[in-house]
Assembly symmetry: C2
Homo-oligomer: 457 residues x 2
Amino acid sequence: MFNKILFSLFLTFVLFNVQAQNDDDALKIKEIYNHTLTQGDCYQWLYDMTTQIGGRLAGSEGADRSVLFTKTILDTLGADKVWLQECEVPHWDRGIPELVRIVGGKTLNSTALGGTIGTGEAGLTANVIELQGLDDLEVLGEEKIKGKIVFYNRPMDPTQIRTFNAYGGAVDQRVFGASRASKYGAVAAIVRSMTLKQDDNPHTGVSIYEDGAEQIPSLAISTNDANYLSKMLKNQEVQLYIRNTSKNLAPKTSHSVIAEIKGTDFPDEIILVGGHLDSWDIGSGAHDDGAGCVHAMQVFQTLKAIGYKPKRTLRCVLFMNEENGLKGGLAYAEESNKNNEFHLAAIESDAGGFTPRGFSCDAQDSIFADYFKKLTSWSDLLEPYGLSLVKGGSGADINPLKSQNGLLIGFRPDSQRYFDYHHTRIDNIDAVNKRELELGAASITSLVYLIDKYGLK
Amino acid sequence: MFNKILFSLFLTFVLFNVQAQNDDDALKIKEIYNHTLTQGDCYQWLYDMTTQIGGRLAGSEGADRSVLFTKTILDTLGADKVWLQECEVPHWDRGIPELVRIVGGKTLNSTALGGTIGTGEAGLTANVIELQGLDDLEVLGEEKIKGKIVFYNRPMDPTQIRTFNAYGGAVDQRVFGASRASKYGAVAAIVRSMTLKQDDNPHTGVSIYEDGAEQIPSLAISTNDANYLSKMLKNQEVQLYIRNTSKNLAPKTSHSVIAEIKGTDFPDEIILVGGHLDSWDIGSGAHDDGAGCVHAMQVFQTLKAIGYKPKRTLRCVLFMNEENGLKGGLAYAEESNKNNEFHLAAIESDAGGFTPRGFSCDAQDSIFADYFKKLTSWSDLLEPYGLSLVKGGSGADINPLKSQNGLLIGFRPDSQRYFDYHHTRIDNIDAVNKRELELGAASITSLVYLIDKYGLK
């Protein structure tokens, strides 16, 4: 009986402490949100970066300026150390404004794809053939493709609820379309823009020439114009005139920007928050990925403002060159491995500044379940903010850290509007809602706080 | 032993059927989403209603036109019956464009509040006194208020995650500000606009004169101008000139629009989906509540398109006069009660056309738990679409049905941007994202499908 009473008292004590701890955490998370929503600077930083600098393609002047711009801010956010990490990045230049015109007809809204070569100033003219995907190359064969401009027109699937899945199901046309078509004798490739929206904005993005493939020009046209062209092709042959003067120049030295707060108790366990600093050259990369950069910077500002001293080492990393080479992410992982570092967790925000829905988690198979169990033990704290935890991919820049056996986390905001803006001239500050951006930063900060306080074991 | 085997077989059979049923439902819900996202007309309807008709204040020509516009569409959606239900609505007229000017200074962005009287064409001039809420009236007393213009400036609380809670915590200033201030001798009231955004758009909305209170003019100014005025008041006395010629005219006869599909098995159990047809006069009420109307209409279109025959009676109800009188909702409940009807469930969409987050459920205390248990048994089917179920308010128009002991449900989309547009001149079609609108309609249709198929017992 005595033992029972003791045990009961013990249980009461434990439960009381668990509850008290939980209440403390709930209060701390509330404090994080309150600060971010009332005194956060992330929106102003993004406003300044997108309006004063604009596009930040790796190797461009805008990218260089964004390195200095963010370093200057990070210098004020209470980090122990802020530094630049070198990486060698591709340097692609768009050239003069591109032109895609139906011979004898209208001009289509177009954009050269990142990495493409140009047609030369004279341009090229050829007949168009429409395909629904890379597989159609084999079906049609060289006979039908040789000498033509290949037009990939498979739309993103609108029935996918998460738009990233629709993107993943269509983007092979943009990335590999030109390279594969050249093997069948195509003279150029154009692709339907990667978006679910019907409008006039062409979407750029990377196009890759695979080893050994002949390089041919590669451009995207808007969804409205893709529909127009497709309709026209049902009734007649269509000749297109394409002109762009894009070219790949010699690689350049660029930098990722890193800020660090050394942990008080477990300095060798690193928690990384990051986004990528580079963007495409059209538009000003407000959602992709200015939002991710200011999210990560806001984590530091908020933790400083509420006086939280991290037990573990926190790093804010703004990666260079995610869009067309990943050189910043690769250099970071290489350097980290060389120094025998351990990233307990890395969180990347690279899905826009929309209302948070949660986090997507990834780790080596052997350890994922344990990490995920720990994370979901905090669900009650995150759920009031609309945050759920799922298994899934994290972020391109942090993925090279997977071999360190930590947990990789992708911030997941609402995805419905992301591809309305992605890689376009309209991915600007007016597409970003201040509150939605701030909520994202607060969500990430809250997760950083929990991981830092409790670890992941 | 034999019994055990039999029991085991029985269990397998039951589980198999439960699983099969679940798979059927998952497929049906997928079909609902697929149709809505690829062939739904809700966005086009909203486009037409907001661009061709515009504002739809009860008693206005726009409201009358919207009744005919939606009835004409509902006539094509496979309903057994479409009819108009009469209600007598207040008829408020804004008059000539309102003017709020700092004497010797700038003009503030303002809007007369719905139901307010006018100043007369000559306008009125008086000193301003700033208050943080209705309670300040008592604190300051008649001596300080008499003869002045009362300026309510308590902002919505930005730290509320759900913006409707922030609205609920501030809107008493708009609704009762003028009426209460008149008791202390104020000559007019102006209120900070009900929004979390800092901008130049004034937000209108209802202002109510309580019985016996002297009627004084009641207007809102933009948040930017509220900040400007407040700052000015810290250093000096400020005189305002206000002019508006608003007036309350004789009530008019208007209509709610109702479409019905008679249930095959349980015709006496009604499931209602609805929104409200009226809007404020500035802007075109795209989110508030054109979105709710086209959501409800889309439910009928989708169920028809996928060939679903409801077991229970479905009604699409587009209520008139939610904004300033609720006369449509009250008339509907009165008529329904007179006919001894039973609404098993009523779902209102009146929180905008944003990405769905779930549903908020309400019923009489004695029966809520049973209903909610049944609803949450479908959580696995709803969760893949980002839909969660919570206890909470439903909708103003359906609330009068609560006494019928059915379940009341409010559709809950993401709330972050709602009060950027609510009751403003910018609540127009360009503030609505097509996919987000369609996802809302599909979410509501899916819930209607489940309630219709399984009931709520």
